[in-house]
Symmetry: C2
Subunit: 222 residues, 2 copies
């Protein structure tokens, strides 16, 4: 495997979806700054697609919450707010904790959780903190995958994208991601030891602490 960061070069069913994925990465990766306006004409030329196709892309990403559409004014990269972060963590608690609590330790998603933990560990050594952040998010996406609920999984994917958008806004990624590598490992260990309820309690602590850290970093921006 060449680069452990890139999850999968999915075949991009249609051009619009492919471009959407590319743009999504650019946004969550920080290449596009929150609040920035995305001119249809300019971006279409830059991406080498037509305006119509780009508009389809905009519709997709707007509904995902990482772009904002103001009628007759244009499309902007969404600007995370304190309120949105609070909302996101609330949703995370509501979904992740029960998902883990009712997990069957033999579920296939447990392997995904373990892979994510190991990837985070490897990227920590480079160090690539943004990569660590991605791996940590993947860990939590895997937790939701434990539910086998397509709707929850898709919804949570959105939530994660929004959260990564907020992360991109903050500096000091090491502080935001480093402490949670071992914490994820502990949660996973407890689950594999056959104690989902205990793992869920640890996860709840994790979320509370992570939320506080993010909010503090956010407050430091003014």
């Amino acid at each position: 495997m060449a680069d452990p960061r890139e999850p999968a070069p999915s075949p991009a069913a249609s051009l619009a979806e492919g471009v959407a994925a590319r743009l999504r990465d650019q946004v969550t990766g920080g290449a596009l700054v929150p609040g920035q306006r995305l001119s249809e004409a300019r971006l279409a030329a830059e991406l080498d697609i037509s305006r119509n196709t780009l508009r389809e892309v905009f519709r997709l990403l707007t509904r995902e919450g990482i772009l904002r559409h103001e009628p007759n004014r244009g499309v902007f990269v969404a600007v995370p707010s304190m309120a949105s972060i609070l909302d996101i963590y609330r949703v995370r608690r509501l979904i992740e904790v029960p998902a883990l609590a009712q997990a069957w330790p033999g579920h296939a998603a447990v392997a995904r959780m373990r892979a994510a933990v190991e990837r985070a560990g490897a990227l920590q050594a480079i160090p690539d903190w943004r990569g660590v952040g991605s791996a940590n998010m993947e860990f939590h996406a895997a937790i939701v995958a434990l539910t086998d609920s397509p709707r929850l999984i898709q919804f949570f994917t959105q939530i994660i994208a929004e959260l990564r958008l907020a992360f991109g806004l903050l500096d000091s990624p090491e502080l935001l991601h480093r402490p949670y590598i071992s914490r994820n490992a502990e949660i996973l260990g407890r689950l594999e030891a056959g104690d989902p309820a205990g793992a869920a309690r640890m996860l709840e602590d994790y979320l509370t602490q992570s939320e506080r850290a993010v909010l503090e970093a956010f407050a430091r921006l003014g």
Copy 2:
């Protein structure tokens, strides 16, 4: 007020969103049958919009789950399955029960709940069972609104649309909606009496029973 069924003739920010709302109603209202194919050319002519705009509409509704898009083959009205109904009720339990349990009885959404109950009662007298179903769904949307979480509210709106799509597939709407008018009223009464926890327990029973009824009706179709 002329017709208590129509919630609000929203100003339709853009043409695409307006048409999306119209199509959504046609689908959840049963005018478009699940599995039916939506030809771009024909439907665009019928709705008197261009193919490009219709495609934007398709993207919106596909992401909402009420249309399905097969690359190079076309767009179809989504076909509810037993699995999707199970998933939907699981999500409902996960979101609605905690939402109600932690509700503050003075919240503005309580008024929405009461309005929905009263509307259902009125429509029962006509009788308009499809309308009763809509009112019941509005009751539960109001429960989620108790959380003040934009993300949960938007997500739940989707879930409701999908469920109404499934309802449209089933016959005997009276059997599916009638029993729940009084049940909703009881839940509301318990909440207004200052016992959110008790109301939440009643809601849980409600969901279990409703799920069973829907699944049975679904099984009768073969």
